[in-house]
């Protein structure tokens, strides 16, 4: 915050306007979520979670994130490693491809899987004859989630690893370290902050994704409804308390993400600043 000064005079007006705007657009809706959820008292609120369909939705969301996030973390590290430590043909192309999910509407990210694997899709009939079902079940939801959250970790790591270069790895190798030792003892500690940061953002998106998942899920209650989808289902059923109760979990996830993000930024301040280049997310 070097160079920042305390606001004076008219500056206060701008600060106040910004705070008011934030309150209107973020804090008020957030408060509304909690207010609605508790409107009929705490017992109704907790009863919403006793619903088997609600529990199934929560469990499905956790399951999807538990598979998608580690996969994308591994992919992100591998892609960043390849792009920043080696020279090869098609590098720019790979970088552009990694960015595609950021610039594409999530609906498309869901729709492509239906086009590929749906009943009338390119590969649908063949897979169907083999008895393999991909759309309207866990696999489809997982694929859609992976596609949407693919760039988060890679995008966090690439700029950082680009500034760090590969001298330390070269030094480790000349000192007799093998590939795995070099990665674990030299590369990983240098990128751990950015990696956790990327994983955090990736996780928040994986759990909160609506559009892409909605296309491939098929909305089978208790089976293929994730938390965000279940909120919509309950809301359409006029079960407002139930909808907002589940929504508090998602809002809580956002708050926890925010807290962890702040902690990471404080703990790895220098490292994250070095690689600072965040790509705007498309909702």
């Amino acid at each position: 915050m070097r160079g920042a000064v305390r606001p004076r005079g008219s500056a206060w007006l701008i600060v106040a306007a910004a705070i008011l705007w934030l309150a209107l657009t973020i804090l008020l809706p957030l408060a509304a979520v909690f207010a609605e959820a508790f409107r009929k008292g705490a017992s109704t609120f907790f009863a919403a979670f006793a619903e088997p369909d609600a529990l199934a939705a929560i469990f499905l969301t956790l399951k999807v994130a538990a598979v998608a996030v580690p996969l994308n973390a591994v992919f992100g590290v591998a892609a960043a490693w390849a792009v920043t430590k080696f020279e090869f043909r098609g590098k720019t192309l790979l970088l552009a491809v990694i960015d595609i999910p950021f610039s594409m509407s999530p609906v498309i990210s869901g729709l492509v899987w239906v086009l590929l694997f749906g009943a009338n899709g390119w590969l649908g009939p063949q897979l169907d004859s083999l008895g393999i079902r991909i759309i309207f079940n866990f696999t489809g939801i997982l694929l859609a989630t992976i596609l949407v959250t693919l760039p988060f970790v890679a995008r966090e790591l690439i700029p950082l690893m680009q500034t760090q270069g590969s001298d330390e790895e070269c030094a480790a190798i000349t000192l007799g370290a093998g590939g795995l030792t070099t990665f674990l003892q030299v590369t990983l500690p240098n990128i751990i902050g950015a990696l956790l940061y990327g994983v955090l953002l990736c996780n928040a998106r994986a759990m909160g994704e609506f559009g892409a998942v909605s296309v491939v899920s098929g909305h089978i209650r208790g089976l293929t409804d994730t938390m965000p989808l279940h909120v919509e289902v309950l809301y359409n059923d006029y079960d407002f308390v139930g909808a907002f109760a589940i929504a508090t979990l998602l809002a809580g996830l956002a708050l926890v993400t925010l807290a962890l993000k702040t902690w990471l930024e404080w703990r790895f301040a220098g490292e994250l600043a070095r690689g600072n280049r965040r790509t705007a997310r498309t909702a």
Binding site: E87, D167, E168, C170, A171, A172, I173, T174, L175, G176, A177, G178, T181, Q185, V186, P189, N190
Partner: protein
């Protein structure tokens, strides 16, 4: 012969970095690779370390085919231009790294590693700084950690890439002397890359001058300065003046005067004469090119005169402060001629 490099060639996507480099090094020799940026000296060093693979050529060290070995098998200590210290490890952990990552059966016991680290820290004069992180050290200190880390693996050969490039002049001079002492104490064959001719000439047993991916000349510093093989070597090793001349009877002949050749054996005919500022005479009258003094610079005990000749040619001449010529002021008219000149076959100039 401990190191034999034969006919190395390496091409990067757009430009050839090495175009047939051959050299040898004796056991315990201190060799400098000197050249301008882009001359291929760092590429050559990285090939020796195993960090680059040449397209063609051979590298043998103590009878072993180095190109068949990976970088980690070669046990070559490398000091990088920007040190490449492990930023999240303390100084002591950095130095111990090469020992700690050895496979269990080759790894020295913990106490022995600690002892080695202690010994190296005192060798590089960093006692008491073992718990610091690289970011908490000065550039010179980081450089010494990098050297200690490379020495910890008892390297069969030590490679240094522009070891003093990022340091200020005073620290550089101190470290230079000290590096020579460390080399003499450990006796390890050492090759270092530099673009600073003074550093190379001061420090090395032999200097290899590289230009555009080729070795122009390799030899002891005195040989390079007394018998440069090409105009490039002469020009790169220090400030130089040049003038067109004709070679006749072992002398360089100019308009109405001549100068002796520093080394015989140049074919007769028209060529370029090269000479150093400290072997350039300026007199108020007499033979030589008519020149005007255009600049005057005092460098401790030496006065440097910058003179402009008739056709716009610029010459530099150095004198001791107490020489009579040192009194010439800017604007003065004088005569300038070389005491002796070097001449080369034309093809190798530039």
């Amino acid at each position: 012969m401990s190191l034999i490099v034969e006919n190395l060639a390496k091409r990067f996507a757009r430009f050839p970095a090495l175009k047939g480099v051959s050299l040898t090094a004796e056991p315990g020799e201190f060799l400098a690779l000197l050249g301008p940026s882009g001359s291929g000296k760092t590429t050559l060093l990285r090939v020796l370390a195993g960090l680059e693979t040449p397209d063609t050529g051979r590298v043998a060290f103590e009878g072993e085919d180095f190109l068949a070995m990976s970088a980690r098998e070669r046990r070559v200590g490398m000091v990088f231009q920007h040190y490449a210290l492990f930023r999240h490890m303390t100084v002591a952990r950095n130095i111990a790294f090469g020992l700690r990552v050895r496979p269990a059966r080759l790894r020295p016991p913990r106490a022995e590693i600690a002892k080695t680290v202690e010994r190296l820290m005192s060798l590089v004069r960093l006692e008491g700084l073992g718990d610091r992180y690289p970011a908490q050290l000065s550039g010179g200190q980081q450089q010494r950690v990098a050297l200690a880390r490379a020495l910890a693996i008892e390297p069969r050969m030590l490679l240094l890439d522009e070891p003093f490039g990022a340091l200020d002049a005073k620290v550089r001079k101190e470290l230079r002397q000290w590096l020579r002492e460390v080399h003499d104490a450990t006796g390890v064959t050492t090759i270092f890359v530099t673009h600073d001719q003074e550093e190379a000439m001061d420090l090395a047993d032999r200097v290899a001058v590289l230009n555009a991916g080729r070795i122009e000349q390799i030899g002891a510093p005195q040989v390079l300065s007394e018998a440069p093989a090409s105009a490039f070597v002469f020009d790169f090793l220090g400030d130089s003046n040049r003038a067109p001349c004709r070679i006749e009877g072992g002398r360089a002949v100019f308009d109405g005067f001549s100068a002796p050749l520093a080394a015989p054996g140049v074919a007769g005919g028209a060529t370029t004469a090269w000479f150093r500022p400290h072997e350039t005479l300026v007199e108020r009258t007499g033979e030589g090119w008519p020149v005007t003094v255009t600049g005057r610079l005092i460098k401790s005990a030496i006065v440097r005169l910058e003179c402009r000749g008739a056709a716009g040619a610029i010459f530099e001449a150095d004198f001791p402060k107490d020489a009579p010529q040192a009194d010439l002021i800017v604007g003065a008219e004088a005569r300038l001629k070389p005491k002796r000149v070097f001449a080369f076959a034309e093809s190798s100039s530039e």
